[in-house]
């Protein structure tokens, strides 16, 4: 039972009610989430990568990445006991470990930003196409379907070419506007389900217009699903970004795991037996993707709207 607010006849303010309700809801959520081992593991892995991303400039000063400074270093040197060279050097003599650490940044930044963009677009389109019947809703639905079946890589290549320079922000936009259809379909289905319930009818009778119905009633019921889904989208976006980098479509000035894989492939690291350059970037990608997937799946279970919990 949720706690009663009033004691000794005092009437709480609306703000006090909201605050207390948020506190109760958050504690309940944390408690529920903590019961899932895989989810906690995912959070742990993610925290690790976030810390590395934040501390990269401190742990591995920028000079380590300068190709000119690395001219004197041996190329494809195997791992040594020196901290900076725990994973040896790559094809230009730079520290692999430093590159790995710096590579967390674009992955996380692009992953999260592009997913947020996809979430916003997907939610707006999904709710609107579920709420508005007739021509408007129908055309949004067709738009979603159309984007869903667009072949991903060719689209991304074309967009990057059309939009000019290969800057990281272009990549964010490109991935953002190609990853929203999945969310939109999910949101649309949930919107239809929510709107079939009697409380939407009640909302109409109370005087709520289209906008109020969508924002006050549909959105809160849709958000938990959206958040879980977005977390999974991050995983997909990071994989996509790695693919782009591997294909050489990413801004070459940025150190990324995909770029490392591309360099390894191009300079024949496999033939030279330089496993320390080939395998770690792949492992990092897997690690981050796994983290987001575990968290996303756990959120899906915890936030399941059928259970009626927050």
């Amino acid at each position: 039972m949720s706690a009663d607010v009033a004691e000794a006849g005092e009437i709480p303010s609306v703000r006090a009610i909201r605050w207390k309700r948020r506190k109760v809801a958050t504690t309940r959520f944390i408690r529920a989430f903590s019961q899932h081992g895989p989810g906690l593991l995912g959070v742990g892995i993610l925290l690790f990568f976030v810390v590395v991303a934040l501390l990269a400039p401190v742990l591995f000063p920028r000079e380590l990445l300068d190709p000119n400074a690395a001219l004197s270093n041996p190329v494809y040197a195997p791992p040594s006991s020196e901290f900076d060279f725990w994973l040896g050097t790559e094809d230009l003599g730079r520290s692999v470990l430093a590159e790995l650490a710096w590579g967390t940044r674009p992955s996380l930044v692009v992953g999260i930003l592009a997913s947020i963009m996809a979430m916003i677009i997907g939610t707006l389109v999904g709710i609107a196409s579920g709420h508005f019947r007739g021509l408007f809703g129908g055309s949004l639905e067709r738009l979603t379907d159309w984007f869903l079946v667009l072949p991903f890589i060719p689209t991304v290549i074309v967009l990057q070419a059309v939009l000019g320079e290969t800057s990281i922000w272009i990549t964010v936009v490109v991935l953002g506007i190609t990853s929203w259809p999945g969310t939109a379909r999910l949101v649309r289905a949930q919107t239809l389900s929510v709107e079939a319930r009697p409380y939407i009818e009640r909302a109409k009778v109370l005087g709520n217009g289209d906008w109020a119905q969508m924002v006050r009633h549909v959105l809160p019921n849709v958000m938990p699903l959206v958040i879980a889904n977005t977390t999974l989208t991050v995983a997909i976006v990071i994989l996509s970004m790695t693919t782009l980098a591997f294909l050489g479509l990413l801004d070459p000035n940025i150190i990324s795991w995909g770029g490392m894989l591309d360099a390894a492939d191009a300079t024949g690291a496999a033939a030279q037996g330089a496993w320390w350059f080939l395998i770690p970037p792949g492992l990092c990608v897997i690690g981050v993707v796994l983290a987001f997937t575990l968290i996303g799946r756990t959120l899906e279970v915890v936030l399941n709207p059928r259970l009626g919990s927050n």
Binding site: A6, I11, I17, P198, R202, G209, P220, N221
Partner: protein
């Protein structure tokens, strides 16, 4: 006459009126379903009207049309004499005056909104002032006291009866003139119904609320309604004061309905054959004649109206509005009651 009916006569102001209303839908397998097929109704201030009939008779559609949730194909809905406008702002203003209580209190409340938010939704939508005061008063009037104890609760933490009170409070928060209740107690436990019905009577006494209760339960009508309107396949087949209609039913359909109410021990059950026909295929003549027991047992033929029953539709009943001190009549749309004019 009970005191409730007396006070209704004094305040004879018509709050909502329905004028020759027709509402149609696309049928499931093509064809047009005439859910409401020519209905007149007048609701006066402080009156409690029960609209009874089986599923498919159009009572829910009629209620929804009065609320502005459906648009009529013909006829109109009048509020205080003014026809209903379906444009955004006018409809919203109308919604302040006429509210809805649905059948399923669990489904009627957004599970993510607390009781406070559920009741405050109406005042917030219309930008009314003193939101907290309104919520507090509405919850008290609906019998949830002290109101503060319920602010933070969520629907799934309340019992069925409490949830229905929250829905009623949500309607009351807008200070409406009329509340339409669609099967307000049918999904509640039997022992809890009495309290909710008593609440409705109290709201009529204290606030002068007009209530239109849509139900299939004749016992409910007997408990709280001043007037009863019986519907069949989109038309009103009988209407009048509750005691009159239920003690002395005129229309064969009303008689059959009453006979299957289990509390009527001793009366022989008239169990009609078949099920309610399809609103897309309304029979010719009197729409009840294929199931009518008076046609089956030959009474109609003996009275010489059988031909009329199969070919002429009984006249649409007009809305009952007493003039001056005149009592409400008791009408039935049946050729046996009102023989058709001979050609």
């Amino acid at each position: 006459m009970s005191s409730a009916a007396e006070s209704v006569e004094e305040a004879a102001e018509t709050v909502v009126e329905v004028d020759d209303l027709t509402v149609t839908f696309e049928g499931r397998e093509g064809g047009t379903a005439r859910a409401v097929d020519g209905v007149n109704l007048a609701m006066r201030k402080g009156e409690i009207i029960a609209m009874v009939g089986e599923s498919g008779c159009g009572k829910t559609t009629l209620a929804r049309t009065i609320l502005g949730l459906e648009k009529p194909a013909a006829g109109r809905v009048l509020s205080h004499g003014e026809p209903l406008q379906y444009g955004g702002r006018a409809l919203k203003a109308y919604r302040k005056n006429i509210q809805l209580v649905l059948q399923d209190p669990t489904g009627s409340l957004n599970p993510r909104h607390s009781v406070y938010e559920a009741v405050a939704e109406g005042p917030r939508t219309h930008g009314m002032d003193d939101e907290t005061g309104r919520v507090s008063r509405a919850l008290s009037m609906a019998g949830l006291r002290p109101p503060e104890r319920f602010y933070l609760r969520y629907p799934h933490e309340l019992s069925g009866g409490q949830r229905q009170r929250v829905v009623i409070a949500g309607a009351l928060a807008l200070d409406p003139d009329v509340i339409i209740a669609d099967e307000p107690v049918s999904s509640l436990d039997a022992s809890v119904r009495g309290e909710i019905l008593a609440l409705m009577l109290k709201l009529r006494e204290d606030l002068g609320l007009t209530l239109l209760v849509v139900t299939h339960d004749l016992g409910l009508a007997w408990n709280i309604a001043d007037r009863i309107v019986v519907m069949y396949l989109g038309r009103v087949v009988e209407q009048g004061p509750t005691e009159e209609v239920l003690n002395n039913p005129q229309h064969p359909y009303t008689r059959a309905l009453l006979s299957v109410v289990p509390e009527m021990h001793g009366t022989e059950q008239i169990v009609l054959t078949g099920e309610t026909p399809d609103p897309t295929k309304i029979p010719n003549g009197c729409r009840f004649h294929p199931r009518c027991q008076e046609v089956r047992n030959g009474v109609a033929e003996k009275a010489g109206v059988l031909e009329a029953c199969t070919s002429i539709s009984p006249a649409i009943l007009s809305a009952q509005i007493p003039v001056g001190a005149a009592e409400l009549g008791h009408d039935a749309a049946c050729h046996l009651v009102t023989p058709p004019p001979t050609a």
